[in-house]
């Protein structure tokens, strides 16, 4: 199996074996360089230490062809070490989620008992004596017709079926059930997995072959913990990292996302909290909480009641309840007698309990709305970013006509970049804080947040209206100072949160 053909079951072929080297990442980092650029006042960092945010997280963006190459590369690499046929090896690797170290570790750990590793991966050991199926005329158990043995085929488990049935079987599994790496032998109760060689030799239909390759690639990416599809709907690129982490990665299509959870990059909030937050935002129960803030529930049957008149003697509309209570104290109406003006029941136990429950749920809602409004506000502003970019671009062109050089006007684009980054960070700071209990570190965090927010809004104002071609040279200094300040405040805030993660400063609400 020293020839490449053994590895290459793809129609596309890997005739251009070139350029497996990592792409030059220089352009990718371009945009981030500004962070570390000139005037950041390092002393502003509370604890000087470098944080995750500034370390480089090495990653590369792969196109679909490169994913196939990568698969072949891994196969070759392992094959150089252990002499297992590629078809078997591919199944073994898939079983170990394409973690070659783990495969090799197990392979040597089971030394002398390698049979076990093949069994666990549902494949017949290539070192075992093959069963010979020499009978001349056999009947296929699926179509019940007898065929010559040359028309019968099977995996190493020895279950033979006619080629027609095999291809029909594979077609069903691939096209209807979307299976690829885990298709079992058609025999009942046989768990041996179909290898890619038999699929490629039996399936000639281009559509089916393509789908199979597609499914194989997909499951290769999905089970490989160092690979992730770009979440952009029309993008077919994959991000490859060297080690797995909750870090930002950037696809060639421009999408920046969290490698751990595939959401938009969400520093400083943790993936779990972001997930909870997004679910909460979607949740209908929040809408119903909205209602409850503006209405009250019947203290007896909990049906929602909206008061539509001035009288505080309320009768629950529910046909089965018809409970009468006082809108003010929520106590039963009876003791109030004819006139609620004498409502002296305000502290009666049952009335108080009913009020407390409503109070609590209202406070929780108020709290949620507080964070949600601020989160939404930044989200909304971010959605207009493309408009701002367009405007700034126009402005930059105007300026260049007024004898400013291209270099000289770049500060404007940079300012918008920083503005967007700050808004993104601010947006997630509200999600971060929503899940936290109050403590001193949180107070410090809120100071940082307020600072960054104020600076960001000022920068935004500058960009929204203060840039006029007349005042351009004056304003350049102002804008540069402001975005640098924003940028440094953002670093300070993030660094503080990261340090808190390391030192366990944050107390979470349950």
């Amino acid at each position: 199996m020293d020839s490449d053909e053994d590895f290459d079951y793809y129609d596309a072929g890997d005739d251009e074996e070139d350029d497996l080297s990592l792409r030059d990442d220089a352009d990718d980092d371009d945009e981030d360089e500004g962070y570390l650029d000139d005037n950041i006042i390092v002393s502003e960092a509370p604890h000087g230490s470098e944080t995750k945010d500034e370390e480089v997280y090495p990653h590369e963006c792969l196109s679909a062809d490169r994913i196939v190459d990568l698969m072949v590369e891994i196969l070759k690499e392992v094959n150089d070490i252990v002499n297992i046929p590629p078809t078997t090896l591919r199944i073994l690797l898939a079983h170990f989620n394409w973690d070659k170290e783990l495969l090799l570790e197990k392979y040597y750990e089971y030394d002398g008992n390698q049979e076990r590793i093949f069994k666990e991966a549902h494949v017949v050991s290539p070192f075992k004596m093959k069963r010979s199926n020499k009978s001349r005329d056999v009947s296929c158990e699926i179509c019940c017709s007898s065929c010559s043995s040359s028309f019968m085929t099977g995996l190493d488990c020895g279950h033979m079926f006619c080629k027609g049935c095999w291809s029909q079987y594979l077609r069903t599994k691939i096209m209807d059930e979307g299976m690829s790496q885990t298709i079992p032998c058609p025999a009942f109760d046989c768990e041996i997995i179909v290898d890619d060689a038999i699929v490629m030799s039996l399936i000639s239909d281009k559509k089916v072959r393509l789908k199979y390759q597609h499914l194989m690639t997909n499951s290769f990416v999905e089970c490989n913990s160092l690979l992730k599809w770009c979440p952009s709907p029309d993008c077919h690129h994959v991000i490859k990292v060297e080690y797995r982490d909750r870090r930002a990665v950037k696809c060639d299509c421009g999408r920046e996302f969290c490698f751990e959870c595939s959401e938009s990059w969400h520093d400083p909030v943790l993936c779990v909290h972001l997930k909870k937050w997004l679910k909460k935002c979607d949740d209908d129960s929040e809408t119903s909480n909205w209602i409850s803030a503006n209405t009250k529930e019947c203290p007896k049957c909990q049906v929602t009641i909206e008061k539509d008149g001035g009288c505080n003697h309320v009768i629950c509309r529910s046909q089965t309840c018809k409970h009468e209570f006082c809108w003010v104290c929520l106590g039963p109406w009876d003791p109030h007698g004819a006139s609620w003006y004498n409502c002296n029941r305000y502290n009666a136990d049952d009335a108080k309990k009913a009020r407390d429950t409503q109070q609590r749920s209202r406070e929780m809602l108020q709290r949620y709305l507080f964070y949600c409004n601020r989160y939404m506000n930044h989200l909304q502003s971010l959605k207009f970013e493309h408009k701002l970019y367009a405007r700034v671009k126009r402005k930059m062109e105007e300026m260049q006509q007024l004898n400013m050089s291209w270099i000289e006007v770049q500060f404007l684009k940079k300012a918008v970049d920083v503005l967007c980054q700050c808004r993104q960070t601010l947006m997630y700071t509200y999600v971060f804080a929503f899940f936290l209990k109050r403590n001193n570190q949180l107070l410090l965090f809120e100071d940082n947040q307020a600072d960054l927010e104020k600076a960001t809004e000022t920068l935004s104002e500058y960009l929204e209206r203060d840039i006029t071609t007349a005042s351009i040279r004056d304003i350049k200094q102002k804008v540069q100072d402001k975005y640098r300040y924003c940028d440094s405040r953002r670093s300070v805030l993030l660094r503080h949160v990261h340090e808190g993660y390391d030192k366990e400063w944050w107390d979470y609400l349950d």
């Binding site: 699926i142 179509c143 069903t172 209807d176 009942f188």
Partner: protein, 152 residues
């Protein structure tokens, strides 16, 4: 694959069952119509809760049979009371869906069903019977089965 091949296979299965039916299994000859379906009569094995009881099992074969499983349900007014059999005749048995293999035959399915009945220790309906029969589709194969504990 051609309908011709499917016909041939079903024909062959019918023939085998007619010629040498295993104990407790009888093909209902009157159910053999042109439609790709037929009925089999099962007799509960002696010494079990269903001893000597007779049930009717309906097999319907789709276009992609045997690469997809047949639709198998109990029919008639005698449906076994069993933790894996709903009162509408639907059966919760893994070889009828995800563990189906094209190398399995009608006969093998019948034997599995009889063995499922034989291993039962208490005649009772599935716990979610009332809900299931109200909400399920007509075809049991549309149900995403959550296989009940195999130890009946």
């Amino acid at each position: 694959m051609s309908a011709h091949f499917v016909q041939k296979r079903i024909q062959k299965e019918i023939l085998t069952m007619r010629k040498s039916p295993p104990p407790g299994i009888r093909l209902c000859e009157d159910s053999l119509r042109s439609a790709p379906e037929f009925m089999v009569e099962l007799t509960g094995a002696t010494g079990t809760l269903y001893s000597e009881q007779i049930f009717k099992l309906l097999f319907k074969f789709g276009e992609r049979y045997p690469f997809e499983s047949p639709q198998v349900t109990f029919v008639g007014n005698c449906i076994p009371v069993h933790p894996h059999v709903y009162s509408n005749g639907h059966i919760c048995l893994s070889i009828l869906t995800e563990d189906w293999s094209p190398a399995l035959s009608t006969e093998a399915v019948c034997l599995s069903v009889i063995s499922m009945l034989s291993s039962c220790t208490e005649k009772k309906l599935p716990p979610d019977n009332a809900f299931y029969i109200r909400t399920c589709s007509k075809n049991p194969k549309d149900t995403k089965w959550w296989f009940h504990d195999d130890q009946v």
